[in-house]
Symmetry: C2
Subunit: 418 residues, 2 copies
Amino acid sequence: MGYPLSIYPRAPRDHRRLVLDLIHESRDGTTRAEIARSLELSRSAVSGLVDDLLHTGLVRELDKRQTRAGRRPIGLEINASAGQIVGVDVGATHIRAILADIAGRPLAELSTSFDVRVGPEKTLAEVRRLVERVMRDGESSLGRVRSIGVGVPGPVISEQGMVLAAPIMPGWTEYPIRHTLEATWERPVVVHNDANLGALGEWTYGAGRRCPNLVFVKVGTGIGMGMILGGRLHEGQVGAAGEIGHLTLVENGPLCSCGNRGCLEALAGGGAIARQARELVRQGQRTHLSTLASIDRLSARDVAEAAAQGDHLAQQLFAQAGEYIGIALAGVMNMLNPGVVVIGGGVAQSGDLLLEPIRAQIRKRSLQAGVLTSQVTSASLGLRSSALGAVAAALSLCFDHVIAHSAAGLTASATEGR
Amino acid sequence: MGYPLSIYPRAPRDHRRLVLDLIHESRDGTTRAEIARSLELSRSAVSGLVDDLLHTGLVRELDKRQTRAGRRPIGLEINASAGQIVGVDVGATHIRAILADIAGRPLAELSTSFDVRVGPEKTLAEVRRLVERVMRDGESSLGRVRSIGVGVPGPVISEQGMVLAAPIMPGWTEYPIRHTLEATWERPVVVHNDANLGALGEWTYGAGRRCPNLVFVKVGTGIGMGMILGGRLHEGQVGAAGEIGHLTLVENGPLCSCGNRGCLEALAGGGAIARQARELVRQGQRTHLSTLASIDRLSARDVAEAAAQGDHLAQQLFAQAGEYIGIALAGVMNMLNPGVVVIGGGVAQSGDLLLEPIRAQIRKRSLQAGVLTSQVTSASLGLRSSALGAVAAALSLCFDHVIAHSAAGLTASATEGR
DNA sequence: CAGTAATTGTTATGTAACTGGACAAATCAG
DNA sequence: CTGATTTGTCCAGTTACATAACAATTACTG
């Protein structure tokens, strides 16, 4: 339990873990002296900590490194060959898996269409298949993978690794996701909400990196939100935070999958855009979309492509969706005053088409003070925000394990074998 | 900067401060063994820490304490005579000051009507006068007061102790509030947003005590919100979080002081209720309010009194305000999934009249998962939430100082004198 | 009522994790 | 080549803990 006014002048911490984080953060390596400065520790202390990390095999020394003056420092970096990580993003209509080395660099990536409503058993079987395949593609194997992160499109109690009660995930309630996967893979597994992982992914590798107050909005089939507040992921009391998709924006608006009417998701989600497009085509509106083979299977992606090719009606659909999202986000800005708002997910791939109306509504409806210090950008990781967030979460879990076990005298012998 | 996935199995901490907090938390005293259990430290370690605290004079031993079996433990409590604290709540239309002993128990209280729009100099002069008076009322003096907390009705960068840019506080922008007050009182001062302090007050002493995800809504002349998320006060990137009063709820609704139309504050704030009542009276609606002397000065308090006496029109005004607040809070529930929502401020003193419509709208518009695990209550500290939050903040500051200086070998000699 | 188990607080003793100072190694600027 | 600068290491001392043993005190049990 934290204390609401954290004025601890210099909080004491688990230094080994922090040193590992710093080495991981610095893409092109760091040095003992640099670490000592940023953690405000003595160089001698850092030397000892780094020695321990070198013994785990997770960290290695670089040959050389240029500098200004003085003795040539010894570079430090994560030993990429010390193991691998898998991140999985289970969306409502797709699954994506990324294999990365333990330094966080992607090695292979796969995605497939899928419907999460078939229930947990079939979905997790598909997840296992995809993870097998992505490991093969990356010329790896389970033996070299140290931990696995999984994102699912519903409220997750990450501590327990299960879904509480998701509207779009019937049958998942209290299914022990993490437990099941840990049993099959015999590796530490971390399960999170997909939007939360998107926030973590963009915070770690993407737009607004390391910004202590970051909001990530995943605009896909549905609309979800993940938040990093005060430098920490905010999951809410029971993991149900970020359910922005079911804000009521229009009284007696279109019916939503949650049973209510006029929800943001029913107005601006990918499903809503596709539905609106189908209706307009059926009404005989002039649009390129009419030329598509099967109007019944028209998807948000089709609308996006038409919009990119200049179709006016398709563009209007996106603009309207952006307006609704902007109205909701104006509220978010006023309430949370984030430093960065990142728009991701499938629908957001259309870029400014969606972003500009969002920005306009925020400017119009939010208080100046908050807006001036915030920026609204699209996800710099594209569709991979959540999957890379899963990598980041799994990486963090792996680091935790290494630190915990290195204290017991064990070195990283588990995954040495090639 | 925190790390978003805090899976540190047991975070290392400043133990002396935590022991002090635990002693402060336990109203009827605690013991060394209890502290050892809750901090997961050895009894011998706690003994040492407690010894240091006893030397500061801030903690004292109690004579006796009954127990189940075993040796009779020695009680520990905050030494209430070691000093005093003042908390000040500057609202838009009032100032309230509370003198408390260092254990957090109120000793004296005062409030006065005031208009914050007269600017910082005059307001701070009034604050100084009120603090003088409340100290006299409590038979105290500045010499015995260790620190002072002040809440102001605008976005505050608490680290700098100044207001960024408040709509209702012209002339306050970047005025060095904390600096000025520290210079006059020669005591540590902490400045926060008033709604944030309300959240802190209810978290510390009131409803939903110690709930790690608490939302406090201050419904007074305006409407503000304070949040404790993940056990810590969320202030946002530049202290502008919680500005819930200017969410747009009704397109082209009534004009708000912020320049937009249809803001929550313009629909459900105390000012809005009074305005609506005046309009209805002028229209000749049947209501007890018409009997009041001056209709031009009719206030929300008058409407509340009429409602309490059964006036139907007045009750309807409150019900409608509650509905609007409930709509906004339904969004808050979905987004933040708090454990407790506390409704405070002047207008909220009407209790269920306002609360029931709020609860109804939340039930109607929020997702089940979040609502079932949350409770919506009125502020158990009444109008004193913010002022007592200021006491809590000042207390925390005082504790920090004592801990920091006790390390340097100084004992608490500064305020020993009676 | 004696005996036993339970509980608290204190006392040594040992260990991990740091600081601070001294120092050698390595580099650059003149 | 010399001096200033920077890095990493080594060593002595300090702090903050744990662990274990112990004395003091209490409730319960037969």
